[in-house]
């Protein structure tokens, strides 16, 4: 019986060690390595690409290693991981989502007000610095073909009003029922309706408008197919949709520990416009390239933004 007990103690000890200990052989890369910057992101192609862009920048300008934790389930989960100290950088949050999700506030449609509310809210509630936008937003957008846009001189959503009665529209299923920025609210704000509105799965709308089955569709503004099908994105001139600008965020504590991170993220401010993001999404999805590869190509094509402010000395580490 003595021996048995010893075996048990050994078993318990070894499990205890493994539960608290860091990395097991073969799984070392990543999460648990001390001193690494851990970049958390969600699972869409765009979000993962942005995670790897931040990683590439950190590796280019500092000696610090950076790891990407991808596929976290929701934006609140990313936020929680950061608040708990399991991750250091949130690669991307969208203003509208951050406002209603993490901060639990009501949607604000004015872009500047929304940004201010989020920046303040993150600082007060989580002690996290919410950065200015990467330079693009991923929001709902009305899309039409190049031909239709030229024929009727369409630039803004309100330009549709005169011809809307003859147009069929394909929209995201969930948008029909949404409160605040859904179909009913749209009718109130823009004061016109389409001939028929067909709810469909959002992934299908791009093909539907390109093939001519639909005249106008409501899709996501950074989807790669907008670029590849040469669709025209109509400006939401009445600010109907809440802003979904994409920004990184980092706790102030981490910034104190790694001041260079602040400069690196400042370099990325305004560096990625909607066209670039669309193209990256398109390449990753259509050519089955890994987001990591696309991010690396993007940074190399832009010389890691070495010329933009603030100036940083590249250390050249890969």
């Amino acid at each position: 019986m003595r021996l048995k007990k010893r075996v048990k103690v050994a078993a318990l000890a070894s499990t205890a060690v493994f539960m608290t200990a860091c990395s097991l052989p073969g799984l070392g890369a990543g999460l648990t390595e001390e001193g690494n910057i851990r970049i958390a992101t969600q699972s869409s192609t765009e979000m993962v690409i942005l995670g790897y862009i931040v990683q590439g920048m950190v590796n280019h300008y500092s000696e610090i290693n950076a790891d990407v934790i991808q596929n976290l389930g929701s934006s609140t989960m990313v936020n929680q991981a950061i608040v708990q100290g399991d991750a250091d950088v949130a690669a991307v949050s969208y203003t509208g989502t951050a406002l209603t999700g993490e901060l639990g506030m009501d949607p604000i449609t004015d872009p500047d007000e929304a940004r201010e509310a989020v920046t303040d809210g993150f600082e007060e509630q989580f002690n996290i610095k919410y950065y200015p936008s990467y330079g693009f937003e991923n929001t709902y957008a009305f899309l039409v073909t190049q031909e239709l846009a030229e024929e009727h001189d369409l630039v803004n959503v309100s330009d549709l009003e005169s011809i809307a009665e003859e147009l069929t529209a394909g929209v995201d299923n969930s948008w029909m029922e949404r409160e605040g920025d859904g179909y009913r609210a749209f009718l109130d704000t823009y004061q016109f309706d389409f001939e028929t509105v067909y709810p469909m799965q959002v992934g299908l709308v791009y093909d539907a408008v390109q093939s001519g089955d639909m005249d106008v569709v409501l899709g996501y503004s950074t989807d790669g197919r907008i670029a590849s099908y040469d669709l025209v994105l109509l400006e939401d001139d009445l600010n109907f949709f809440p802003p979904y600008d994409a920004s990184p965020s980092v706790p102030f504590e981490i910034l104190e520990e790694h001041p260079i991170l602040d400069d690196i993220l400042a370099k990325l401010e305004g560096a990625i416009d909607t066209d670039m993001m669309q193209e990256m999404n398109y390449i990753a999805d259509e050519y089955l390239l890994e987001p990591a590869t696309v991010a690396r190509e993007f940074l190399e094509a832009n010389n890691f933004f070495e010329d933009s402010e603030p100036y940083l000395e590249p250390v050249g580490g890969e």
Binding site: S14, Q70, D285, A301
Partner: protein
Amino acid sequence: MLNIEGLDELTQMNTLQQLIYYVQQNGSYLWEQFLRHFLISIYGVLFAAIVAIPIGFYIARHSKLADWVVGAANVIQTIPSLAMLSLLMLGFGIGVNTVIITVFLYSLLPIIKNTYAGVKNVDNALMDAAKGMGMTRWQLTYKVELPMALSVIMAGLRNALVVAIGVTAIGTFIGAGGLGDIIQRGVNASEGGAIILAGAIPTALMAVTADLVLAWLEKRLDPSSHKRR
């Protein structure tokens, strides 16, 4: 803007061709995730074996405890894996260790149950003979019970490992990596069918292979299959 060489016109290809193309392009990444996936599963099962096999022996001797222990392990088993992962995440945070702990918990039941059954089913006559030879308690365990029960214990490990490979696949949601990353990437890509297959086929293959290898081992270890010399 981006000038990536060698991009073929993939939209013309069918899913199988896309799959081959993806594997060619991302072979090393795929292999890396495969290995990672395998290791996570193995570690979880291994740690569970270290704990569960002694427990199995113990409850085989103390039958009163058996119902309680197996019952508790049963309860763990009924928790859906995604819920378990989320629950543990609250305590252990995100990352690979939480997935290993999840695999560990799911592996307990099959291993405990099989060890218990294996030890219980050792022929009493054999035990009496061993005792008659003057074996100590430890010798009984080590020289009689363990060899006799080994193939049944192996069956438990086999069960556990197959489940583990499945559980590890959802570990991607808490940032653990593994083949689940690739599957999830395929789900999110607009035309990701081929990527889903690139992640799902190796996962299935791994489970089937693990099952076959352990089944073979189980057979080898079965004392009744040993030829007398």
